[in-house]
């Protein structure tokens, strides 16, 4: 992980102003949160609280201790630790990603290069892309069951960003590069593998980064459908159902952190690729 450590080092050294401002931003957010929470918890001189909604907005430090507790104490609902939930959710995200990648990349390359593939694919894509993942729960339960249903929902979230970016990249290939390849003896398959695919990789990486983010956004919906072995999404809505709101927020925080982590890793892979491909 030398590259990762080096990357962190460079980030801190070269961008300390950015890092400092980022920290200020988070602290400011916590301060606003704390103020709002304190306002909701405050007692009027004549008794009662402003809204009666205080329990929905716990203090930041309550959420932080719930966050720690979720890792060290089992969930009373099912006896799972947060690490178990993370493992289950990560598994769904990764399965969803692998399948989405395997389908979206070839489909995107074809749609970007062949007008017939585009004509066939585009109406379906545009029709299905805006449908919220939540809406699919009943049909996915029947078709895919409780193990594959959640993965299918995550798949939908990751699939479209990868497909659309790959299609865009493939359709944008500089035509003179294709001409050059042809005059060097490239057949259709060579043009695809040695020109169009490498040209598309940066676009594809953007699709992957965006896709991971949307994949995490789908995890609550996915785990509403099935949560064998728990899951962070499951943890959020089950905590909410039990009125354990500080634990619900702790779960939300975990998703935020996991999404940032996967996006960061994708970014790291992206930079590696760029350096290897001689692009900066």
């Amino acid at each position: 992980m030398d590259g990762f450590v080096g990357w962190i080092e460079r980030l801190l050294l070269q961008n300390w102003r950015r890092v400092a401002l980022g920290i200020v931003s988070v602290l400011l957010f916590i301060a606003i949160w704390w103020t709002y929470s304190a306002y909701l918890h405050a007692e009027w001189p004549f008794g009662g609280t402003p809204s009666g909604a205080a329990e929905y907005v716990p203090y930041p430090d309550d959420v932080l201790s719930a966050f720690v507790d979720s890792f060290v104490k089992p969930d009373p609902a099912n006896g799972l630790y947060m690490t178990d939930n993370i493992a289950s959710s990560l598994e769904r995200i990764l399965f969803g990603f692998v399948i989405a990648f395997a389908v979206a990349v070839p489909a995107g390359l074809l749609m970007g290069r062949l007008w017939k593939a585009d004509a066939v694919g585009k109406p379906i894509v545009e029709l299905f892309r805006p449908i919220p993942p939540l809406a699919w729960i009943p049909i996915f339960l029947i078709v895919f069951g409780i193990t594959w249903g959640p993965i299918a929902i995550v798949f939908l979230g990751i699939f479209f960003p990868i497909l659309i970016n790959t299609t865009f990249g493939a359709s944008n290939v500089d035509p003179v590069l294709v001409d050059a390849a042809k005059t060097l003896g490239a057949r259709r398959s060579d043009v695809f593998l040695k020109v169009i695919l490498p040209y598309t990789i940066p676009y594809l990486m953007t699709g992957i980064k965006v896709g991971f983010g949307i994949g995490w956004m789908c995890i609550v919906a996915a785990e509403m459908l099935g949560s064998v072995g728990g899951g962070v999404g499951y943890y959020i809505f089950s905590s909410s159902g039990l009125g354990r709101y500080e634990f619900m927020y702790a779960g939300m925080l975990v998703i935020g952190l996991l999404s940032a982590l996967t996006t960061g890793l994708a970014g790291l892979v992206e930079r590696r690729f760029y350096r290897w491909m001689g692009m900066k």
Binding site: D174, K182, T183, G185
Partner: protein, 266 residues
């Protein structure tokens, strides 16, 4: 003819090309005739839009002809192929490949084993003067160096003809002059047939055995001028300036025609 008949490398007979642009038809080439002998250096010169690049692209097999015949070493051109190397004004290097990998592209496709590929690319890197830049990416190179890679890459397939589409058009004047000299050195070392498109009269007179001056659209051959000056050529010599003047006056007339056509409604 006797035994030492010169072999024709490129033969274009009654070549024509019609483009369909929306509801307009553009006659780009009409009755274009040209024969280029083996090992000859021919420049195509003409007003912009006269179809010189189209001629090159048809020979390369990147564009379909509308009529006529295109023969390269006696074979009818039907598609692009490694027997006709092409050098592009935009360099058209693969940005993700190093200099060496760019040059080896054609060999890779042919299935030449890696050791042999490296051997060929090393020789070509030497020939075009890029030693020490084998592992650089195109993004790290200047325009002149990029085009050296472009030339080496086209030569790697050992093509019968080299088609060059304004290869030095985007370079600064000094680099351009240097690369013209380099190209002549490479040409005499490899003995390739070169068909070179340019809009610079000076460049054409400096490089070519023969200069083909094209007419305004629809493009056909207006005049073929034998340069007939020994190399290396001196741009400041009276002979050079005389040929230059002759080509220029031919070209000027075509420019005028092209302009008149543009101004008059069809």
């Amino acid at each position: 003819m006797d035994g030492n008949e010169v072999r024709q490398s490129i033969v274009l007979k009654d070549l024509s090309k019609v483009f369909q642009k929306d509801d307009r038809t553009v006659r780009a080439l009409e009755g274009f005739e040209l024969q280029v002998s083996d090992g000859e250096f021919v420049c195509l010169l003409g007003p912009s839009g006269c179809g010189k690049t189209t001629v090159l692209r048809i020979i390369a097999g990147l564009e379909d002809k509308s009529g006529g015949e295109v023969l390269v070493h006696g074979r009818e051109v039907t598609s692009a192929g490694p027997d006709r190397g092409m050098v592009f004004q935009e360099f058209a290097l693969f940005p993700w490949r190093t200099v060496r990998k760019n040059i080896e592209f054609g060999l890779e496709i042919k299935g030449v084993p890696p050791e042999k590929r490296t051997e060929v690319s090393a020789r070509l890197i030497d020939l075009v003067g890029l030693k020490g830049f084998e592992n650089a990416h195109p993004g790290e190179l200047s325009g002149g160096m990029k085009q050296r890679v472009g030339i080496a890459r086209a030569l790697a397939n050992d093509p019968e003809v080299l088609l060059m589409d304004e290869p030095f058009g985007s370079l600064d004047a000094q680099t351009r002059n240097l690369l013209q000299k380099e190209l002549l050195r490479i040409w005499s070392a490899t003995k390739k047939t070169v068909l070179f498109v340019t809009h610079s009269v000076d460049e054409a007179v400096f490089l070519a055995d023969r200069i083909v001056v094209m007419t305004a659209r629809p493009g056909k051959v207006r005049e073929i001028i034998d340069v007939g000056l020994p190399r290396p050529r001196d741009r400041t010599s009276a002979e050079f300036i005389a040929v230059r003047g002759k080509v220029l006056s031919e070209l000027d007339e075509e420019f005028e025609k092209a302009r008149a056509k543009e101004l008059s409604p069809e």
